[in-house]
Amino acid sequence: MDSSRTEGQQSASALQTRLLQQETLARETLSPWKMARRRFLRHRLALVSLAFFVVLVLTIYIWSALMPPTAATATDINYIQQPPSLKHPFGTDNAGSDVLVRVVLGGRVSITVGLLAAAISVTIGTLVGSVSGFYGGILDNILMRIVDMMLSIPLLFLVIILAALLGAGIRTVIIVIGIATWMDVSRIIRANFLSLKQKEFVEAARSIGARDVSLIFRHILPNTIAPIIVAATLNVANAILLEAYVSFLGYGIQPPQPSWGNMVSSGSFLLTISQAPWMMLFPGLMITLTVLAVNFIGDGLRDALDPHAVI
């Protein structure tokens, strides 16, 4: 994986030099996006992870749409805590519900929370970061002190206070994770804006009368799309983990509605661990595999979009 990374970097800089040389001569050179796509396709683990993630998400969404609405809580008291079998591939839980069915339904909740919470955090982070970096001055100062403040409260403490405040449920978990995790994105975007706003193309756009809104969103922001995509991917992984932690601690998705976090939690009593370890094993494995896949995708995207970044 790492050998391909260095090769990717070398060929990337080679490509860039070639690109610069040929830019004035020929038109069939590679665009930056094509270059990025080539580098990403060379990153085998990221590619496998992307395929895994897409298949996983499609399976989970389609399968859970086909299930009857009562599937999550359908129980069979004759089959309590049954080990994995052909009829119940992931076994059954304390109430005799099928763990596989609940893993699929819980997966829909966990992945939805992960994707939407990351979307919120990236949107807030991008807006705050661009405004802060573009305008500078007092506004920048105030916004960055808010960032400092939110980063000084340990994340899980902040999330639990906000979750306790807004109440339990999918919607609040999404909002809470979204508003607790935008700070890193805003710092990255701000740093990018600080250097980009000095560039000639911004000067040129301003000189032909572009307004601030257009300068920010049409001229500068598209140039920061690479770090935004990488941050968004990694935020999805972190949001899935965070949802699991919050639900595990009892402030997130409430049973009987399944989420991967609260499923691990309900299988985590000492007696259940020893008698029915599959109750926490399968949802736990699903969190790990999903987060791992998303992290690999993020890693591949970072190498593809930003060949100069370390780690």
Partner: protein
């Protein structure tokens, strides 16, 4: 340098004050600590008014906050609504336990991460490097609680069922044995390992990258061409410089350790600050919540400050004004 430190300290104070204002406001929106009295039909309106007056809950919020600040600065952190102990006593009885867990976890992290990161960097693209990098990705993606339960399952339950010596799955000591040094050591292993394996994954990746960068520098080639032994080059020339970014990460990791402690202490019934936080949040015990959050935020701010100062001190190329 002295001016830089003073300026940073002066900036930290208003930051902490602003944090307490916001937290105080947020916590009061969660609910009332006397909610159980409001629902009780046997409690009269007069009683409720009396209790509210007793705790100062009848005052406007800003006044309550100012009283809280005044008392806190003077060493009175209020009384828990649950145990009625002074918050300061309550927190400091738990803070020590959290420190035991964190320091053990931190030492274990270094013991695992430094050799792994070093060997990965020195033997880049070897089998060891691939295994270590793969493992670090996996551990980095593991939820803390899942890893904790897996460790309990294997090292407490499976070993116990097999009749082998096994590790305890929770608490700080066996009730039959009573608290002792030996008991604490036995009981801290699994929770500390849970935190350490995940943060070691993070550290080892950083150390590897940082070592690889340093090993490619000109002065390492100079040292080699002088004929220095490789062990001296690695230990004296490379590791020292490669460890520099790790110092910053170490201090910044303190915030992660707090979050990790909340989950880990809940899993292993470790009587620390994290467990106290969850218990207080469940009961809307606002004096205890405010105490914990203020201390935790203050520690994060102090450690971030120490990170910057340590970095400036260790790397003379950085000039601060």
């Amino acid at each position: 340098m002295a001016r830089y430190v003073i300026r940073r300290i002066l900036q930290a104070v208003p930051l902490l004050i602003a944090i307490t204002v916001i937290l105080y406001y947020l916590i009061f929106q969660i609910g009332s600590p006397i909610a159980h009295l409001l629902q009780n039909p046997h409690v009269t309106q007069q009683d409720i008014a009396r209790v509210k007056h007793l705790y100062g809950l009848d005052q406007p919020l800003w006044k309550q906050y100012l009283v809280w600040v005044w008392n806190t600065v003077h060493g009175n952190w209020g009384y828990s609504f649950v145990t009625h102990q002074p918050v300061m006593t309550l927190i400091f009885s738990r803070l020590g336990n959290t420190m035991i867990l964190m320091i053990t976890a931190f030492v274990l992290t270094l013991v695992i991460a430094i050799p792994v990161g070093l060997i990965s960097a020195l033997k880049q693209y070897s089998v060891f490097d691939y295994v270590a990098t793969g493992a670090s990705f996996i551990f980095y993606s593991l939820p803390v609680f899942f890893l904790g339960f897996m460790l309990i399952w294997v090292f407490s339950l499976q070993l116990d069922q097999a009749g082998l010596p096994h590790l305890p799955s929770g608490q700080m000591y066996d009730i039959r044995e009573g608290p002792s040094m030996g008991q604490t050591v036995q009981h801290v292993i699994l929770p500390a390992l849970t935190i350490a394996l995940i943060s070691a994954a993070y550290y080892a990746r950083y150390l590897r990258a940082s070592m690889l960068e340093v090993l490619g520098q000109d002065y390492i080639r100079t040292a080699r061409s002088k004929g220095l032994r490789e062990s001296v080059i690695v230990a004296r020339h490379a590791l020292k410089n490669a460890a520099l970014p790790l110092v910053t990460i170490t201090f910044i990791q303190i915030a992660f350790l707090f979050s990790g402690a909340v989950v880990t202490e809940t899993i292993f019934a470790w009587p620390g600050m994290g467990q106290l936080f969850i218990q207080s949040a469940d009961a809307v015990d606002y004096p205890t919540l405010m105490g914990i959050l203020t201390i935790a935020s203050a520690l994060v701010i102090i450690f971030n400050l120490l990170a910057d100062i340590a970095y400036a001190y260790l790397d003379p190329r950085i000039k601060y004004t």
